[in-house]
Amino acid sequence: MEVTTKSMPYDAWKDNEYIEKLVKELQDNGTNVIVGSLDKLINWGRSNSLWPLTFATSCCGIEFVSLGAARFDMARFGWEVARSSPRQADFMMVAGTIVNRMVPVFRRLYDQLAEPKYVIACGSCAISGGPFLKSYHVAKGIADIVPVDVYLPGCPPRPEAMIYAIMQLSRKIKVERFFGGVNRQEKQQEFLREHPVAGVND
């Protein structure tokens, strides 16, 4: 099964290996025809109307603004409905550095996103701390704080790269199993178990 989008041929994607692994997992597990079709329908809907959360801490956020404007026009893909409230958004583009003081706020925003929710680590700061790696007040990547779906390198990444990253995310959603399979909620529970927080009962 080739997972792709209408606008891009399968071979044009740079990293199909990961998606193929997901597809294989999906096929190996096997599913009932009706449930499988329902999954497809749900995934079709979800992957084509991803709503981002308006969230930016620094430079990458400005490229996200450019992405929303006429030239790069993310409305072509159905992502233009940037929500200011996390409760209405589907995914969060972590655009910028996350510093110590921001971590609790950021985590709360993630927790407030409605399921199913996704995270794109946008730019080197969000991936690893980037140029501020050695700073006393910067989180070394957001992967320790929330589960990340797509890593998008760049300082800051170009809007085209952002389009690619969100398209990757939508491909990932296309091979998700909503019924029976590994659900996002379970994935989050797993993540919370692996990252215990003192004093908080997950």
């Binding site: 969230f55 801490t57 620094s58 404007a69 910028g96 110590n100 003081r101 140029p131």
Partner: protein, 543 residues
Amino acid sequence: MATIQDKIAALCPEAQFEQADVLQVTVPEAKWHDLAVALRHDADLAFDYLITIVGMDWQESMGCIYYMMSTSRGNETLAVKVIAAGTRKSPYLPSVFDVWAVATLYEREVYDFFGIIFVNNPDMRRLFLSIDWVGYPLRKDYDTDPKLNPISTESERQSDFTDTWTLEKGKLVKNEVRVFQPEDFVVNIGPQHPSTHGVLRFRTCIDGETIKKIDVYMGYIHRGIEKLMEGLTYPQCLPFLDRMDYFSAQNYHSGMCRLVERAAGIKISRRAEVIRVMMDELSRIASHCLFMGTFCMDLGATSMLFYTLRVREQILDIMEKTCGARMTFNYPCIGGVMQDLHPDFQKDVKALLEIIPANIKEYQKLFTGNVIAKERMVGVGLLSKEDAISYGVTGPSGRASGWSCDLRKIRPYSIYPELDFEEVLATEGDSMARFNVRLHEIEQSAKILEQLVDNIPEGEYCVKVPKVIKLPAGHWFEMTEGCRGVLGIYLESDGGTTPYRVKLAPPCLPLAGVVDHITEGMKIADLITIGGSLDYIIPDMDR
């Protein structure tokens, strides 16, 4: 200069003078407050603008260097060095919050980084770091062990109290004061809010719809750039300048380069100077375009963003061809610029200059003349000239209050003295004036570009500089006109390849500091207009 020196010597006989790039006076801590009052109010001195307070840790002692400027007397600058009294555990200095309004904020910053207590400052809290932070990061003996200050997803401890310190019989006494009264109704705006332009937080005390007081809470993007720079060589320091105010990336970057070049005695070619100035002005247009877009979006006119970003994208294309990046260009370097101009540069700039007048007309038609826009902006957020100076509000926001603070005019650097352009000034001091000043600055920047585009001299774009740049021991201070105001850079070298101390005094910190003052008594909806019109960039103020 002699008269100032005599005058200060008469006021404070113990003062020692040192002529660096700025006249520096060293005064004892006990005399500092009285001297500050005299410096501010004496008609022959009248140093009314406090540029920055540089906290210093010289290891054997700690202290501050106050950089100030006299706006009424030809924009003369003066530096005052004061060594803190007390032990290293609790050093203290008298506060000058009653002399310059912006000092309240600057002193909090110094306290946060160095632990120097300012006696009598009404608000002696940490500014960027949490209340439970262990240590003072910019001290030389700061323990960087992450275990001391772990990253936690637990909400930060908050306090409704602030500290003030008084000196009683030579002993420091700490008093707790409430930030808000128990009966106050406080609404939290930010840090995740689309209209705060990033992650800034306002604790807003309101009475009905009227704002009584705002406590600006920053540090949500404090990345510790100043400390990072202390461990890096001079060329390695430069990329951080791009990531502060990412709209003024070119301006900040060339400012820092100019400082290092001056300190190292490097003379750059005229071609490099012209390229830098052209890039600065292109940045200014792009920055003001984005300001208009986001500001109008805050007010509800989303379509304006698409109009202004059109011009911005065109400028980014020009820059991308030459610099290879759309943002964070890292283009100027010590000795000139990184690479030569792209062959299309002149053609592209001319194409840009052609469309700008028509675009400005369009913005005027779409927005400035709009009755709703007028209702929301005229008379909202008044800032008088005196307050602008006292609060250190520079850049277009300061000029909208009638303060002639454009460094390109008042303390010209690079090739600006040869250029024909006007400083845009307004007298109203409201949000509309701040908007208009920026709109007209686009015209002036275009005028500068017009003069230069056909006159880019031939020559090398980067002179030969030593591979390892070492600066002699000493200290330098440089000011640059960014897109949002004056960036002051203080650099101290101990003779090595890395700076001993770099202090970046960003224009956006005072811009955030003045919010409380100008929103008082306004409606809460006006907070968005005022914040938008001041146009602060959060990573710039937090660094």
